[in-house]
Subunit: 160 residues, 2 copies
């Protein structure tokens, strides 16, 4: 298990999804995890310390676990199957250990709220990890391409 931190959360304009970029601590590789837009927002809100007067869904999840005497120990992104990442939430409950199946997005949105470690199985970095600088460069190029396309479209419109 590799301990990871969230490098950044970006939005992929091609797939219309969010991307959570997990960096291995003391490493150069990142693991891009595609997540729904809503879940990306839920992660970002917490990272940016955005304040909401009412509990959002993942705040409610945190509150329920804590009120039922559960203590989230860590989350683990443990496997990939048909391009889908799987995760587990590891909870301590009255001296028992409970493992709950979760999408990585929900597990990460919970982890940032309970301030618990985020782990990734080593093999996932081997199969899906990418060089951090390479990935960020690619993202910038994609954005630049979209910008050029949008500019061309604007010019077309002005002509008519």
């Amino acid at each position: 298990m590799i301990s990871c931190k969230i490098e950044t959360v970006t939005f992929d304009d091609v797939s219309h999804m969010g991307v959570v970029l997990l960096t291995e601590k003391d490493g150069r590789r990142v693991l891009p995890v595609w997540v729904g837009l809503f879940e990306a927002q839920a992660i970002l809100f917490r990272l940016q310390n955005s304040y909401f007067p009412r509990p959002l869904t993942h705040d409610l999840l945190k509150n329920c676990i804590e009120r039922l005497n559960g203590q989230v120990e860590y989350i683990l992104i443990n496997r990939i199957e048909n391009n889908t990442f799987y995760a587990q939430i590891h909870i301590k409950h009255n001296n028992n250990k409970i493992v709950i199946d979760s999408r990585p997005s929900d597990a990460i949105a919970l982890a940032v709220r309970v301030e618990t470690p985020i782990y990734v199985e080593e093999k996932l970095f081997e199969t899906n990890g990418v060089d951090k600088e390479e990935f960020l460069k690619e993202q910038r190029e994609k954005l630049y391409k979209l910008y050029l396309e949008a500019t061309e479209e604007d010019e077309e419109k002005t002509k008519h």
Copy 2:
């Protein structure tokens, strides 16, 4: 407390929000509860028995509560303040009763998953309840107005 059922979930094109319409059992009044689009979807998916291979956020919430020996007894929409509805999730846990503060949307999305009663405080129907037929008529008129506007816009575009 009035026992309610979900009459329908619609989308309000003016506010760009979802509306959960709660009907009092054996009554003619409905209580429209405005909710986020994501939460409206989460409620609809369950009502339509949509199948997803991975647990959605409210499925995860249900799983966590159940795995921690919690049993949702009912949810209650109990008050309104500054146009915001408040709700509570009532959970039985090892012979204790736990009440957890929630947005109505999350509470309802959970209730439809654990098949638990949805209650609304009587006073909310008095202040915010509306006649069911009146409300549905208004919604239809709004939709028709939007349809006319869209048709006019299309005609304008065709002219140019």
